[in-house]
Symmetry: C2
């Protein structure tokens, strides 16, 4: 039996025959032509022919008349890598009018070629020794124009506040003032100093940048200097480069995927690729242990519905019915076979996060989430370390089932945060 | 004196203070904060601070109120590679509301790190020995499900028609039936056979696909088997991977950039990256010798204005005033310095091309263009070889200053093409 990967598109057109359009895609992006072929040739080509799975026409959507069209592409047509899949299903088609790639479902055979996240949620928790609460991450306040002493001090203050992870800014590239090896060395020294006071472990995700074919060396230089995680601007290099980094046995630390450039692709209703595909499925498939994406709460906003779709793509356990629904679909997998296993990736909703949002974040994302803050930590009225503590207190409050306002009564850090930014529940 | 790369955005907002927004971008994407800094620190940070170059507000555009905002980013802030530049100027910003990257101008210092196209237009013409007319390219009719004998026969018929270049389909990936080495061997054999009849040279661009870190090996395998050009799905791997391939001295053949996936990025008025940046400047900068993009004529359409912007980006000679205007801008270059030299890339407007369009293509693009056809060659009433000849006749007619209809009178191939598809002048 052939196996297929399924792409779902939203196609906008005020008068198209969408069923005909779907047939055109299924044939045009696979065997090229069909009705003209001699019968004998059809028998040979059948296994390469795309199949229309479904066409749902919506006569009056808010953004115009559209149809959701699902096409099954035979795995035999493309090599088992993300560039080949994307070029097959949306290479030429992306340029063919108002059409958007809104979902992908993968065959077991295709998935079987991917290792997925090397650490995943369980692995990241294991490294930190934290199993009973959401994690807390912070971002440097500013990085450009600083020397390593400046970065070390910022790092130390963040670490003192009890954060679990600290990440480089995505715009910190290899540079003479704070080259990756030197910066990792001093920041990990700051981590050790903070650990003497907090007793807490910490992951530092160093930003791996520069020429494509030097990225692995750059990653290993960071790891040799003590980096215990990496940050990567995936979309600037392509999903396959994330997979290459993640698949390398010598890159034995979690990789955090940054969504830089994603806004060029996901927000239009008519064009591009849905955030759940871009920042959900493909990031997990390619091996991201943690995935940042714009939260629905803050300044850089993504609609709640899309955030939840990303969450489901990252969190669905491979042995759950949700995984089958979200990842392999009903038609894509061979019945009775267990789907290949992919570890879960940590969702990291980002931007505009302050302690008063913690109850909402945990309500929306559950316990498997990284609470990630920049201004909400560095801008705390009592300073950066207090900013971290306020978040940890907010997380503790939710865990204990106590309202933030009550919990803040004898906790000056949380109290100051609430005075500054309020509570949204 | 500092040097800067300049990004221009189109930002849509019904009521924003665009001047304030521009300041926010210039500060936020560079030093992070400015007004809070102590004076002594400002002096140190000044060289890292982004500068607002211009803000042009348009109160009533067809797609809403907008402003074109140009920001100069100090080169010192990012490493001299395309991922770093893009992540700096549009990484986070792409996710910040309705905003589109519409142009980039580069400093001489930044450009100086790039070799650009290894062959360029002059080099490609030199390989073919064709200096006095536009080139003609054809695409396989269908590739999936064929064995090498099927491809060889298609290749031979195309070559017989007098085309200068033949390219793989972008959805032909490494596969057991037609692996790249075997396919190149048989197709180059067909090229030799056709050459005995036509006396004409021919470039075959083999599609380099698969895992990122195997791409160079794949390219060298194709070259070892005789491929004298390569096709590459640039956007599936990132611009820097094109640069890596182009910069490798062992990959000593022209590289053709395919625009697969580009439609996920350029068509929205509100989001994404303009086609002239995506398929023009960045492709040339990264080293594409030929660049395919949707023509303004055919089924997969791009507006004429955008096509012309791509043309200018690819064709402006580095010693011309146009180059300075299009590439380095007025503010970006140090006065008096010659801009670093980048060979020109061949524009290849594609999709829906038939011989009757040749006069229009040459009028729009001038002589430095590749006329590229698929259906317009294979669908010719007298067959594939006749399809190629019809195009060559149409090119000759325009060169001779004779109308297509007149020129077709005693040329059955061109005549049949005109009967089938008409003339658009």
């Amino acid at each position: 039996m052939s196996s297929y990967c399924i792409a779902t598109y939203r196609s906008y057109d005020e008068k198209a025959d969408f069923h005909k359009k779907a047939q055109g895609i299924a044939v045009g992006l696979t065997v090229g032509s069909w009705t003209d072929l001699p019968e004998a040739r059809k028998a040979e080509m059948e296994k390469h022919l795309g199949q229309v799975v479904s066409v749902e026409v919506h006569e009056s959507g808010a953004d115009g008349r559209y149809a959701d069209i699902s096409i099954a592409y035979p795995d035999v047509n493309f090599s088992a890598d993300i560039p080949a899949l994307l070029v097959t299903v949306f290479g030429k088609l992306s340029m063919d009018g108002r059409i958007r790639l809104i979902d992908l479902h993968f065959s077991d055979s295709f998935l079987g070629h991917f290792q997925g996240p090397k650490f995943g949620i369980a692995g990241v928790r294991g490294l930190l020794g934290v199993h009973d609460r959401p994690l807390l991450m912070s971002i440097f306040k500013s990085v450009i124009g600083h020397d390593v002493h400046g970065l070390k001090e910022q790092f130390y203050q963040q670490a003192l506040g009890g954060v679990d992870l600290i990440k480089d800014d995505e715009i910190l590239f290899e540079n003479p003032d704070t080259p990756i090896g030197k910066r990792v060395t001093v920041c990990m020294e700051a981590a050790r100093q903070a650990n003497e006071l907090t007793g807490q472990k910490l992951l530092y995700a160093a930003n791996v940048t520069g020429p494509t074919l030097n990225l692995k060396d750059q990653a290993k230089r960071a790891i040799d200097a003590g980096a215990n995680a990496l940050l990567f601007n995936v979309l600037a290099y392509g999903f396959d480069m994330l997979r290459e980094l993640s698949a390398d046995p010598d890159i034995n630390v979690p990789i955090m995927a940054h969504p830089a450039m994603a806004g060029a692709l996901y927000p239009s209703p008519h064009y591009g690729i849905a955030a759940s595909v871009l920042l959900g499925k493909l990031m997990r498939l390619a091996g991201a242990d943690l995935v940042l994406f714009p939260s629905p709460y803050g300044s850089v906003v993504m609609p709640k519905e899309e955030n939840m779709a990303i969450k489901h793509a990252l969190l669905a356990a491979t042995d759950s019915p949700a995984y089958k629904a979200v990842w392999t679909g009903s038609g894509a997998s061979s019945a009775g076979h267990a789907a290949p296993s992919l570890a879960e990736s940590f969702p990291v909703p980002s931007a505009g996060i302050h302690p008063g949002l913690v109850p909402l974040i945990l309500k929306d994302f559950g316990g498997e989430v990284v609470v990630n803050a920049g201004g909400g930590i560095h801008g705390h009225p009592l300073g950066t370390a207090a900013g971290g503590r306020a978040f940890r207190q907010a997380i503790d409050a939710v865990k204990a089932g106590i309202g933030l306002a009550d919990y803040a009564a004898d906790r000056p850090e949380l109290n100051a945060a609430i005075q500054a930014w309020g509570i949204r529940e």
